[in-house]
């Protein structure tokens, strides 16, 4: 039991390491290309692409006949989980609230809506590909 938890933590930690580095890379690339924008930020890009990817990978992994728990933990919990962030999203919303309540609401709702939409598209896309192949 304890040995299993250690193994899980190592896989999640390894994925988290890569996810955090990818997020930092996206942040750096975004700021050097677009400067520091306030409505569509690097966090927006990461959260929406990450939501799309979790939809694709989740539906792929859950259709496998023998699910590999460590692979799930590495990819979903570790890598994609760390690539996207909620604290950064909320901090940005909090800063926007000082500028304008309307901007704040727009930022909050649009990102959540887009995230949900991205998961749905990611899952549907994979399901349809499977149907076409079969």
């Amino acid at each position: 039991m304890f040995k299993n938890v250690i193994k899980e933590v190592i896989w999640v930690g390894f994925g988290g390491m890569i996810g955090a580095l990818l997020r930092y890379g996206t942040n750096t690339l975004f700021t050097s290309t677009f400067g520091s924008a306030s409505f569509i930020t690097a966090t927006t890009i990461e959260n929406i692409t990450g939501s799309f990817l979790i939809g694709v990978i989740f539906s792929f992994l859950s259709r496998k006949k023998s699910p590999n728990r460590m692979l799930n933990l590495f990819l979903l919990t570790g890598l994609i989980g760390s690539y996207t962030t909620y604290s950064g999203f909320m901090v940005e919303a909090f800063v926007l609230l000082h500028q304008s309540p309307l901007l704040f609401l727009g930022y909050l709702c649009s990102q959540i809506f887009m995230g949900l939409l991205a998961v749905t598209i990611g899952m549907r896309m994979f399901t349809q590909n499977r149907v076409q192949q079969a």
């Binding site: 988290g16 959260n47 939809g55 989980g81 962030t85 950064g88 998961v119």
Partner: protein
């Protein structure tokens, strides 16, 4: 190079802590439940994030690497948006009532936690460090 190592280490710690939070949540609330590890990680992470925001914006001359390690590394990885979106999507297909409660806790809960964390640290700093 130092920055990359710092973020890698912080990211690994944050993700591992999130996984352990999830295990505790399953022990406490069972599965399936709207009280998931993701919910707790996000609310706790936003509370701490609010505190850091107040601290780092009002206490200048702080080493950039400390901020990268704590905010981008640990907190950034401890909280997650993708699992939040995935869990919302799953609830959307099950129950509207649960989805509404889940979104309420995630959005209002996390934002309230962030504002509370910010307020506490801001108040402490005003009182004791006189920023």
């Amino acid at each position: 190079m130092t920055q990359i190592l710092i973020i890698a280490l912080g990211g690994a710690i944050g993700a591992a802590l999130r996984h352990l939070t999830g295990k505790i949540a399953v022990q406490a609330f069972g599965q399936p439940s709207i009280y998931t590890g993701t919910l707790f990680s996000n609310v706790i992470g936003c509370f701490v994030g609010g505190g850091f925001l107040a601290f780092f914006t009002h206490a200048d001359s702080f080493i950039i690497n400390t901020q990268l390690f704590l905010i981008i590394g640990i907190l950034g990885s401890y909280t997650t948006f993708s699992s939040f979106a995935l869990e919302s999507h799953q609830l959307f297909n099950i129950s509207n009532k649960d989805l509404f409660a889940y979104l309420f806790y995630q959005i209002i809960g996390a934002f309230g936690a962030l504002a509370t964390g910010y307020g506490i640290v801001f108040w402490l700093m005003e009182r004791f460090i006189h920023v």
